[in-house]
């Protein structure tokens, strides 16, 4: 079985089925990541489409300097950041008035819903938001978050701590 780098080399030589294999290998993980942010199967599939479409366009320039997953997580992170920012403006403009609690919201806890949590995450500064996303939606260790974001492990931990404190404050007031 070929590893990711071998598949990418094949794709760069023009083998499109190698790209399909890469997609199959990382699809469920990518959709799972977005599902933990959107709680919507369709939206998470659409975002995964965006990620693999970007990958299709840019993978030919992949330079094998890092693990493929680091590269993929970076695209995931950027796509999720765009989604959260877009949604933040949508909520601010009250375009999304029909807020129905999904089944996932009611089964968790009474203080705040997952939707409220991610709306609050969207309001965090970008660095804190990124670390929180990686920790909550992907359960990544700080070391990997550091590789993806380019910040030090210490900085990732500090950003996460600040983010959690801010989120606690915001959600307890709501």
């Amino acid at each position: 079985m070929q590893n990711d780098h071998e598949l990418i080399q094949d794709y760069q030589k023009g083998n499109l089925s190698a790209f399909d294999e890469i997609v199959r290998r990382h699809l469920s993980n990518t959709i799972g990541f977005f599902y933990n942010i959107t709680f919507d199967r369709m939206a998470s599939e659409d975002l995964a489409q965006d990620v693999f479409f970007k990958l299709y366009k840019h993978l030919k320039k992949f330079r094998f300097e890092s693990a493929f997953t680091t590269y993929l997580y970076r695209i995931n992170m950027n796509t999720a950041n765009s989604y959260l920012t877009r949604n933040k403006w949508k909520n601010l403009l009250h375009l999304d008035q029909a807020q129905e609690k999904s089944e996932h919201d009611t089964t968790f806890e009474s203080e705040w819903t997952k939707k409220e949590l991610w709306e609050a995450v969207a309001k965090l500064p970008k660095k804190q938001r990124t670390v929180v996303m990686m920790r909550i939606a992907q359960e990544l260790p700080y070391q990997q978050i550091s590789e993806i974001t380019g910040m030090s492990v210490g900085s990732a931990k500090v950003n996460y701590h600040h983010a959690v404190t801010t989120l606690k404050e915001w959600l307890s007031h709501e």
């Binding site: 399909d20 997609v23 199959r24 699809l27 469920s28 959709i31 799972g32 599902y35 933990n36 709680f39 199967r41 998470s44 599939e45 995964a48 489409q49 693999f52 479409f53 299709y56 996932h104 968790f108 806890e109 997952k114 949590l117 920790r135 909550i136 939606a137 359960e139 959690v164 989120l167 606690k168």
Partner: protein, 128 residues
């Protein structure tokens, strides 16, 4: 790790049903194909606009000799004493008449050129 932190980590849920990778790949390839087609259409449109632009510039820059009927011998004007000129506007030189006739012939207006020549050379001036 405090309670709140544990709570937000517990919000993580695994997606229930499996993902149909073939369907997903089909949609992805469709999107890639559509994007490539759009790119080709965009490039073709750009090329067309460029070609039309270049041709327009070339055409605009080319002097059209057929339409430029003016006397380019300026010394005639400087040497002319306009106070003493006793010439009717209809009495133009043969050269000018010929040039106008050639122009009309070039334009394909044969009968117009015949009329013009008649008017300039044959018709008598109407005295009011």
């Amino acid at each position: 790790m405090n309670d709140f932190e544990q709570k937000i980590l517990n919000t993580r849920t695994e997606i229930q049903s499996t993902v149909d990778s073939n369907k997903f790949l089909g949609q992805l390839h469709g999107r890639v194909k559509k994007s490539q087609e759009s790119r080709i259409v965009g490039l073709t449109s750009l090329m067309m606009v460029l070609i039309i632009g270049v041709l327009s510039v070339i055409e605009l820059k080319t002097p059209n000799d057929h339409e430029l009927f003016y006397v380019d011998e300026t010394e005639n004007y400087f040497e002319t004493d306009f106070w003493t000129v006793d010439i009717d506007s209809i009495e133009v030189s043969d050269d000018y008449t010929e040039q106008l006739a050639y122009f009309l012939l070039d334009e394909g207006d044969f009968w117009d050129s015949v009329d013009l020549i008649n008017e300039l050379t044959n018709e008598k001036e109407i005295i009011l």
